[in-house]
């Protein structure tokens, strides 16, 4: 019998702690498959955020480091500046990257740090129980925006890919989603390309990945995927925001 599908080598196979229907499992797998296909597992160092993916070091089968809230791009910078021939990635959520860590991500992108960032946007702080994130949509109810996010009270949701794409040091910035098999396949292509941009030394690369949080959205996994498509994608359009050619 021919084996057509197996656990990627770049995953440990540890059982997820993620909630049923959560997008992290899919995204972890896409990142791991990309690492396998590029043959970089043994020279990759990953940085976990604070948030639901804080335990990602249990899942990625490569050297891992767990950073303080929002600081992963700075930690990655420290590693990459010393080990320039290794592949360094951060895996960050929206509270981590776009709120407390906005300074670190903007400057890492601006410096053109040759690191790859996987930015998981699910519009809420997952681990702390569904509070408002910088990416929470207008009108969206969270535990800290109980009346729905209001532009006059909480301001507008942050468009990270658009923002970072304006920076000269950013070489590849794109937004993908994991709500359908077709989108997940596109997401994987983007993830792989982001690694390749780093390996080519072109500059900073970031893949914003629209994902789901059924638990904190109060939806079933299928409804959550539908909500992503109907609510998130119109505000956060998919596609490439910056593609710098290798020099």
């Amino acid at each position: 019998m021919k084996k057509v599908l197996a656990m990627p080598q770049s995953l440990t196979g540890a059982r997820w702690h993620y909630c049923p229907g959560c997008g992290h499992g899919i995204i972890h797998r896409l990142v791991a498959e990309s690492m396998d296909e590029l043959g970089i597992r043994e020279r990759t160092i990953g940085i976990c955020p604070v948030g639901c993916a804080v335990l990602a070091y249990d899942y990625f089968n490569c050297d891992m480091l767990e950073a303080a809230h929002g600081r992963a791009p700075a930690v990655a910078t420290g590693i990459k500046r010393i080990l320039g021939d290794r592949v360094v990635f951060t895996y960050q959520g929206d509270g981590d990257l776009a709120s407390i860590g906005m300074g670190e991500i903007v400057h890492a992108a601006s410096r053109g740090e040759k690191i790859t960032v996987f930015f998981v946007n699910n519009t809420v702080y997952g681990m702390t129980g569904g509070q408002m994130a910088p990416t929470t949509l207008l009108g969206q109810v969270t535990t800290t925006s109980p009346f729905g996010r209001d532009k006059d009270r909480e301001g507008y949701p942050m468009k990270v890919a658009e923002l970072l794409s304006t920076l000269e040091g950013a070489a590849y910035v794109t937004r993908v989603a994991i709500n359908t098999p077709a989108n997940a396949a596109r997401a994987k292509k983007a993830i792989k390309r982001a690694f390749e941009v780093q390996m080519a030394g072109t500059g900073f690369s970031l893949v914003e990945i629209l994902s789901t949080c059924p638990t904190n959205w109060g939806l079933g996994p299928v409804e959550a995927m539908k909500w992503l498509e109907e609510k998130m994608i119109p505000y956060y359009p998919l596609g490439d925001y910056k593609v710098k050619e290798a020099q």
Binding site: R41, E42, R43, T44, I45, I47, V54, L55, Y57, F60, N61, C62, D63, M64, L65, E66, A67, A68, R71, A74, V75, A76, T77, G78, I79, R81, I82, L83, R86, G103, E104, V106, H107
Partner: protein
């Protein structure tokens, strides 16, 4: 050489090739010197966008096993505390310099030793300590920088060099000594897992028993440091009835005052803590048979004096003299010591 430059060159001599920092007075010469110097030796100087980023770059850099450093001053150190707590927990060796200034708040850039508590009593969250070295001369700025990297690697701990801004700005002749970096195996480093199992640098321990076990591991290391690394300089402490305790640049002023008073017949001696943590209480203890009174002299409102009191443990009176923003003159210090001697019936 300027104190800050001696410190920076000491780091280079120790094999440090990576510096991540943010400009702040009176520390900036450390960064400026290394911005020129590190590229000459194949290293990297990177000006971070913030103190937070700088300490986290050090966190990442130290995790690779390289010798890395950052420097700052009071307010910058406050911002770095989160990262320092992580580095201490992850047991990553690195060196941090505090070319300190007066506080609280923005304070001022004049001489002060008012970050003693921050340096020695935690600063950041959680049960941890730093090794804290207090140089008193430009020569020691260089020597302690070299020593700091060795201690950091030997004990897998961040080491803080505590210097008054004035010492950083002072110029003195320096003898550059030959130094061979001892090699330390760092099998825990994250460098890519080729040929081995993946390494994980982590400070999260959700199961309570695991967290407690981690704290015991750290506590055992701190106990070892306390047993092995308490350091102090003793000056005229033989049969001294009054022991003056002062560190850093101020200890040199105190030394002059003590020598003058000894010449006048007052039985006074000086203990100069070299390690602020672990605090050299054993050196005070050794003075106890003869010493009937102690006195802490600081450029602060009284911080180290608490550790002097703990060391003396109620067995003798402990007095305090301090200024902020100025280094008191030998005469001023001498008068303060004489006052205490009189008050305690020793003169």
């Amino acid at each position: 050489m300027k104190g800050n430059e001696a410190l920076a060159e000491g780091a280079v001599i120790a094999g440090c090739r990576y510096f991540f920092g943010y400009p702040i007075t009176p520390q900036s010469e450390v960064a400026e010197y290394l911005a020129r110097r590190l590229p000459q030796v194949g290293g990297v100087f990177l000006q971070a966008e913030s103190e937070l980023a700088a300490i986290n770059m050090v966190y990442g850099g130290a995790a690779t096993g390289a010798r890395v450093m950052t420097g700052s001053s009071g307010p910058g150190l406050s911002l770095k505390q989160e990262g320092i707590s992580f580095i201490a927990e992850a047991e990553l060796p690195c060196v941090i310099a505090n070319i300190s200034r007066g506080g609280p708040g923005l304070g001022g850039i004049q001489p002060a030793q008012s970050d003693y508590m921050q340096a020695c009593k935690g600063g950041g969250h959680g049960d941890y300590h730093l090794v804290v070295l207090a140089p008193s001369s430009v020569q020691e700025m260089m020597d302690f920088a070299i020593e700091a990297f060795d201690l950091a690697d030997r004990y897998r701990t961040p080491v803080l060099i505590m210097s008054e801004g004035m010492l950083g700005q002072m110029m003195e002749p320096v003898e550059v000594r030959d130094f061979v970096t001892p090699a330390y195996e760092k099998p825990w480093a994250v460098t890519g897992c080729a040929g081995r199992k993946p390494n994980i640098v982590n400070t999260l321990h959700l199961p309570p028993d695991e967290l407690e076990a981690r704290n015991h591991v750290l506590a055992a290391k701190y106990a070892r440091l306390q047993a092995e690394q308490k350091r102090a300089e003793l000056f005229m402490t033989e049969e001294a009835e009054l022991i003056v305790v002062a560190y850093g640049l101020l200890s040199r002023v105190a030394k002059k005052a003590v020598a003058d008073l000894r010449a006048q017949g007052l039985r006074v001696g000086l203990v100069r803590p070299i390690t602020l943590w672990p605090f050299p209480d054993t050196f005070l203890e050794a003075c106890m048979p003869a010493a009937r009174a102690f006195m802490s002299i600081e450029i602060s409102m009284g911080q180290m004096v608490e550790d002097v009191r703990l060391a003396v443990n109620g067995r003798a009176p402990v007095d305090f003299f301090g200024r902020i923003g100025v280094v008191p003159s030998p005469r001023e210090v001498r008068d303060a010591i004489e006052d205490v001697a009189k008050r305690r019936g020793l003169a």
